[in-house]
């Protein structure tokens, strides 16, 4: 008889699988199973998708949130802002992460804000700025630290009009620094990217004569070499002496690249959490009510302000999610916006959102129902 043998084998396999399923653990906090210290922990699953620029920030927030709420799971899938918004509108995820706020003008006959309102059962979706990431101008020039650039020279470098590092225009900004004659190798993002969009917004906002291209997610320059993703451009600069690129701060520090200081007219400013935070503090709310779409002053001449920052939003329904999800969304966003969480973001290469905006964000989160 053969059958019993097959049955035996199968049951061994099944038993093994069952044994395996029984011993897994989601608890990585190193404490016991009762890791909650807040007392008011929530449960359920929340799914988000979108911008890869804020991935490292939201991962930090999710990590600390999961430690406080052992029964709640937040997933964030970093597929890019465009996909995030698309899947939010298609009801595939509960919130979207995006480098740019929902557009209220028609693109190809559809208005994003209207589509989002439809997804939220007729209620508007809100853009909540929760992560602020400075964009670093990362370069690879051994021996040159604290390189200074201004928006005009930066535009010309990125467009390939300035070809060598010892060009008089760069030298004029860096007195006392010995610049090598190395050729400049520009690296840009070949994929559509929110970073590209925001960097161009800065250039055209601060040096409109030098940067004439209309800002978009696509890099308009032809000089240099395109690479995909933040990691790609950072690696490019790391491997090529004389390389320069624009990239989220964390990628520049993780790859140990030089980060240029920016002179917007009031002296060279080094990129720190504080100097980037100042640019954000000066940001104005362009949205209505609790829709906290921000507009940044890229040409700011305020001393000690690092002007190249991008704000990434969480896009959520103001109303219209079911009750459990609403509680979870509110509780997660509250945690994300809290001083404690924002304080941990600098380590990961982000700037905390300034107190004034944080207050508004908190008001908005409270108003979600």
């Amino acid at each position: 008889m053969k059958l019993p043998k097959h049955v035996a084998l199968t049951s061994v396999a099944l038993a093994g699988a069952l044994a395996l399923t029984a011993c897994g653990s989601d608890n990585n906090s190193g404490e016991g199973d009762t890791g909650s210290d807040t007392g008011s922990s929530v449960s359920g699953t929340l799914n988000g998708e979108g911008s890869s620029a804020q991935k490292n920030a939201i991962d930090e927030a999710i990590a600390s949130f999961s430690a406080n709420n052992p029964d709640a799971t937040v997933n964030y899938n970093a597929t890019g802002s465009g996909d995030g918004v698309k899947n939010f509108i298609a009801k595939q995820v509960d919130f979207a992460g995006s480098d740019s706020a929902l557009k209220d003008e028609a693109v190809d006959g559809v208005v994003e804000t209207d589509q989002a309102a439809e997804r939220c059962a007729g209620n508007p979706a809100w853009n909540l700025p929760l992560v602020a990431g400075p964009i670093a101008i990362a370069y690879n020039l051994p021996g040159v630290e604290g390189l200074t650039l201004d928006p005009t020279v930066l535009s010309e470098v990125m467009l390939g009009k300035i070809k060598n590092w010892n060009d008089p225009k760069i030298a004029a900004l860096n007195e006392g620094v010995e610049l090598p004659s190395t050729a400049i190798s520009v690296f840009f993002r070949s994929d559509e990217s929110g970073t590209t969009d925001n960097f161009q917004k800065y250039l055209s906002g601060s040096a409109p004569e030098a940067w004439t291209a209309e800002p978009s997610k696509v890099w308009p320059g032809t000089a240099g070499e395109g690479r995909t993703k933040s990691d790609g451009v950072a690696q490019g600069v790391k491997n090529v002496e004389g390389g320069i690129t624009y990239v989220e701060w964390s990628y520049a520090t993780d790859n140990q690249l030089g980060v240029a200081q920016i002179d917007n007219g009031a002296g060279a400013v080094e990129l720190t959490g504080e100097s980037a935070g100042k640019a954000l503090a000066a940001a104005e709310v362009a949205g209505e009510g609790n829709d906290l779409k921000l507009s940044l002053d890229y040409a700011t001449k305020e001393a000690g302000t690092y002007p190249i920052v991008m704000v990434t939003y969480e896009i959520v329904c103001s109303k219209g999610l079911d009750a459990d999800k609403t509680t979870l969304v509110k509780s997660f966003l509250k945690h994300f916006a809290s001083d404690e969480t924002q304080g941990t973001l600098e380590e990961a290469g982000f700037a905390p959102i300034p107190a004034e905006i944080a207050t508004k964000v908190n008001t908005a989160i409270d108003a979600i129902s």
Binding site: K2, L20, T21, N28, S29, E49, I62, S230
Partner: protein, 302 residues
């Protein structure tokens, strides 16, 4: 005609056996060298891949947490956590895929070998051929249009399984078909001669005889779909927590775990994605070994 051939053949040629033919010896050596070189070239990438993955991924696997914990609450830059969520996700998806694809595949093969004659059988066989050629991304997009666009469901692990089923069915059909064809016709005829009906012959004689081969084919098909990434990217957003429910929420899998950390440069993430790669290889290898063992046991009992 006959005289002509007679003429050309009749003068006995100088026998090659009389004196050693150096050309032959040279040809023999050349062929041997060529075969061994080809073998070595084929082995190089295999050994290289195994060496790279083991040397970079073994570190992560040595930590017992790797097999028991998920990545919940772990960020790319912190060390710790495990791949339990992804391992269990991959296994669950593979199991569901097998449960759906194996009966369909085996029954199709039985039809093609035992019953199928004429146009319908040719059409089915042709369709299976076409299905074999469907790239995984196309299968995934097809299920996406069906599951998400048409029905408006959320992307869940079960949808991934449906796409994997499309990829696995042709593999199972083809391997089972080959195995059933190998079953000697005498066995079937002997069974018929004893008055056993056809369906019972298939159940009791044909299938048990081909059992080990069918199992091996199924396991090879499983090994193939377990490493598929395209359906996961399109239909199965990853999670860092354990999710055992294929019908709700995001579910982790090893390929998406590798892909998710791939663009990170920090050491912790680097160790993890190589670890996940090694884990996937080990899982697939374990399946293959299991296939071998089953077929061996089966042979002994025969």
């Amino acid at each position: 005609m006959s005289t002509l051939t007679q003429d050309t053949v009749s003068p006995a040629p100088a026998s090659p056996i009389d004196k050693p033919n150096t050309m032959r010896a040279v040809k023999d050596k050349l062929a041997t060298v060529a075969v061994y070189t080809a073998f070595l070239i084929a082995v190089i990438p295999l050994v290289w891949i195994l060496y790279t993955v083991i040397s970079k991924g073994a570190g992560a696997l040595l930590n017992p947490e790797w097999w028991t914990n998920s990545q919940r609450g772990i960020t790319a830059r912190t060390v710790g956590g495990g791949a339990y969520h992804a391992i269990i996700g991959t296994l669950i998806q593979a199991a569901i895929t097998a449960v759906i694809a194996v009966p369909i595949g085996v029954f199709t093969a039985i039809y093609l070998v035992e019953y199928g004659r004429g146009k319908l059988a040719r059409a089915v066989s042709f369709m299976v051929d076409i299905l074999t050629g469907v790239p995984s991304i196309v299968a995934a997009l097809f299920i996406y249009t069906l599951w998400v666009t048409t029905f408006g469901f959320e992307r869940v692990a079960f949808a991934v399984c449906l796409a994997l089923v499309l990829l696995m069915i042709p593999v199972v059909v083809r391997s089972t078909e080959e195995m059933l064809k190998l079953v000697p016709n005498e066995l079937r005829e002997a069974s018929y001669a004893l008055g056993v009906p056809k369906w019972k012959t298939i159940m009791k004689v044909v299938l048990p005889t081909a059992f080990s081969g069918i199992v091996t084919g199924v396991l090879l098909g499983l090994a193939r779909v377990m490493g598929e990434t395209a359906p996961l990217l399109i239909l199965g957003p990853p999670s860092k927590a354990i999710n055992m429910n294929p019908f709700e929420g995001f579910m982790a899998a090893l390929p998406t775990m590798i892909n998710g950390e791939r663009d990170q440069v920090v050491q912790a993430a680097y160790d993890r994605y190589w670890g996940a790669a090694l884990t996937l290889i080990i899982l697939v290898m374990a399946l293959n070994i299991a296939g071998r063992l089953i077929s061996r046991f089966n042979k002994v009992s025969r």
